[in-house]
């Protein structure tokens, strides 16, 4: 039960397994860092790299998050519009779907280098990559959602001669919401991956955690690399948290 979660965390039975796992993991890490100093930085040095330059990481995290969120938003708008078009017009579905499938099986991160050549070191190639990666799951899920209205429900409103717009607004879009949130859960981590990969391939770019990682690795500053990765992980968790909260708000009627 999600509502009892905060209380449940007081009980050791809930947090102890995780704490034990983290302790084992930390111990192994420290042992590894000690045995192979060129592979892993010691945890305290990662911590001090992070805490000593918080504003630096926050600034770069902001850039990466901005690219990820704008790319995701763009993908959302385009994919949603196309999904509506596809659910209303089978012709559009036959035209768009094969293209979308090809787009989906193509490893899109591979177009990052040419995009950087084309658009330079600014945010544009990062946003484009992110949208391309996020596009397909949103399109497919939303299309499925718009078509998920049960037949009897449609029939009731067809006998009132509801217009296609009325059916879309009152029946199809609300039915698609659970599918849409499922898509968001899939693409939120993908959006960060897209932004970071684009930053990595645009070495010398203006900022972002991907650039931080790329620059620091080339100078062998392992502590900085792992501090940036840690910040990326936190960012991913926060993004999922926002989506989960929005979902809980919007889908109170839904069972799951």
């Amino acid at each position: 039960m999600p509502r009892s979660l905060p209380l449940a965390w007081i009980r050791p039975a809930f947090w102890l397994p995780l704490a034990v796992l983290l302790a084992i993991f930390g111990g192994l890490w420290q042992w590894g860092a000690h045995a192979m100093p060129y592979f892993l930085p010691p945890l305290p040095s990662v911590f001090s790299a992070l805490s000593g330059h918080l504003s630096y990481y926050a600034h770069n995290a902001g850039i990466t998050l901005g690219e990820a969120v704008i790319g995701l938003g763009l993908a959302f708008v385009v994919a949603f519009a196309l999904a509506v078009l596809m659910s209303e017009a089978p012709v559009a579905r036959r035209a768009v779907l094969p293209v979308a499938v090809v787009l989906n099986v193509t490893p899109l991160v591979a177009i990052a280098p040419p995009l950087v050549v084309a658009f330079g070191f600014g945010p544009a190639p990062k946003i484009i990559i992110t949208s391309l990666i996020c596009f397909f799951p949103i399109l497919i899920n939303t299309t499925a959602g718009l078509r998920s209205v049960p037949v009897p429900m449609l029939q009731v409103y067809q006998t009132m001669k509801a217009s296609r717009l009325e059916l879309l607004v009152h029946l199809r879009v609300p039915s698609a919401l659970p599918y849409l949130f499922a898509a968001l859960r899939i693409v939120a981590p993908l959006s960060i991956i897209g932004a970071v990969v684009a930053e990595l391939s645009a070495s010398g770019s203006v900022g972002g955690l991907g650039s931080v990682i790329s620059v620091a690795s080339s100078m062998n500053e392992l502590a900085v690399v792992y501090a940036a990765i840690f910040v990326l992980a936190v960012m991913g968790v926060l993004l999922m948290l926002v989506i989960t909260l929005a979902e809980r708000q919007a889908l109170r009627w839904h069972e799951s």
Partner: protein, 274 residues
């Protein structure tokens, strides 16, 4: 003679093509006067639900004509003459009960103009009915703000019936609306349906496979047979109204039940004889 509320003549409906084709309905003639309560009863595959969908304009007939108050089912839908209650309540799960039953008023706002063009319809006082009052009448007064998932099956179907009556339909089409409910819930919903129906001039076409239900509710029970789906006989039910639950104990009621059971049995046999 006034225009019938529902009129079918020589209707044929076929599903599929070639050798795999099934004749769902053939040679169906039916005329129902306004304000009557008519049940369609018959074995599965006799086309009773198909007939209902034709009248609802959800499917076209392959041959023959279907008319609702003298216009096509499509025009009747455009004028919101028709209320439809499917077997599953089909409420919108994201809307409260109250908003579920009031949503139809926001749909197809041009319907009143369409309705005014159709001749011979009962005049309507202005304004939509008080949906809160209707919900209270069927015992959903405490559930106005609840979501459908928080209601029992019987309560959901009540809300679906109120939604249909909220349109103040000239013709109410019901497709086995109580078949998923237990006996007690079913009987209490029959009470409420009769009460709501008794207040207006609505014509009801009610599909069921329950003989007792058909006899209790109807002015006329139309018996259908399968292979191909057709009408075998119409039985007028002469029991006085109101028909409360005491009707189940009356002898006349059981005589009608037996009569219809006999007709159904005959309908069941006839394809073999042919």
């Amino acid at each position: 003679m006034p225009t019938a509320a529902i009129a079918l003549s020589s209707v044929r409906k076929v599903y599929g093509d070639g050798p795999a084709a099934t004749v769902a309905l053939d040679g169906v003639d039916l005329a129902i006067a306004a304000g009557r309560f008519v049940s369609l009863i018959g074995p599965s595959g006799c086309g009773k639900s198909t007939l209902l969908r034709l009248v609802a304009g959800l499917e076209p007939a392959d041959r023959g004509t279907v008319a609702v108050h003298g216009v096509t089912p499509d025009e009747a839908c455009a004028a919101k003459l028709i209320g439809f209650v499917p077997q599953a309540p089909a409420l919108l799960p994201w809307l409260s009960v109250l908003r579920n039953v009031t949503l139809p008023q926001k749909i197809n706002r041009g319907a009143a103009r369409q309705r005014a063009r159709i001749e011979g319809l009962a005049a309507r006082d202005s304004g939509p009915p008080d949906m809160r009052e209707l919900l209270r009448k069927v015992g959903l007064g405490d559930a106005l703000e609840k979501l459908p998932s928080q209601l029992s099956g019987g309560m959901r179907q009540r809300a679906a019936i109120v939604r249909a009556f909220g349109l103040r339909p000239d013709v109410l089409l019901m497709d086995e609306p109580f078949s998923a409910l237990d006996e007690f819930t079913r009987e209490s919903l029959q009470d409420q349906l009769l009460e709501l129906w008794g207040e207006g001039s609505t014509t009801v076409l009610f599909v069921t496979h329950n003989i007792a239900e058909a006899v209790r509710l109807s002015d006329t029970v139309v018996v259908m047979a399968a292979g191909p789906g057709r009408i075998v006989e119409s039985v007028d039910i002469g029991l006085p109204r109101p028909r409360g639950q005491q009707v189940f104990a009356e002898r006349g009621f059981h005589e009608y039940e037996d009569l219809i059971r006999e007709k159904l049995r005959g309908a069941w046999r006839s394809p073999d004889a042919a």
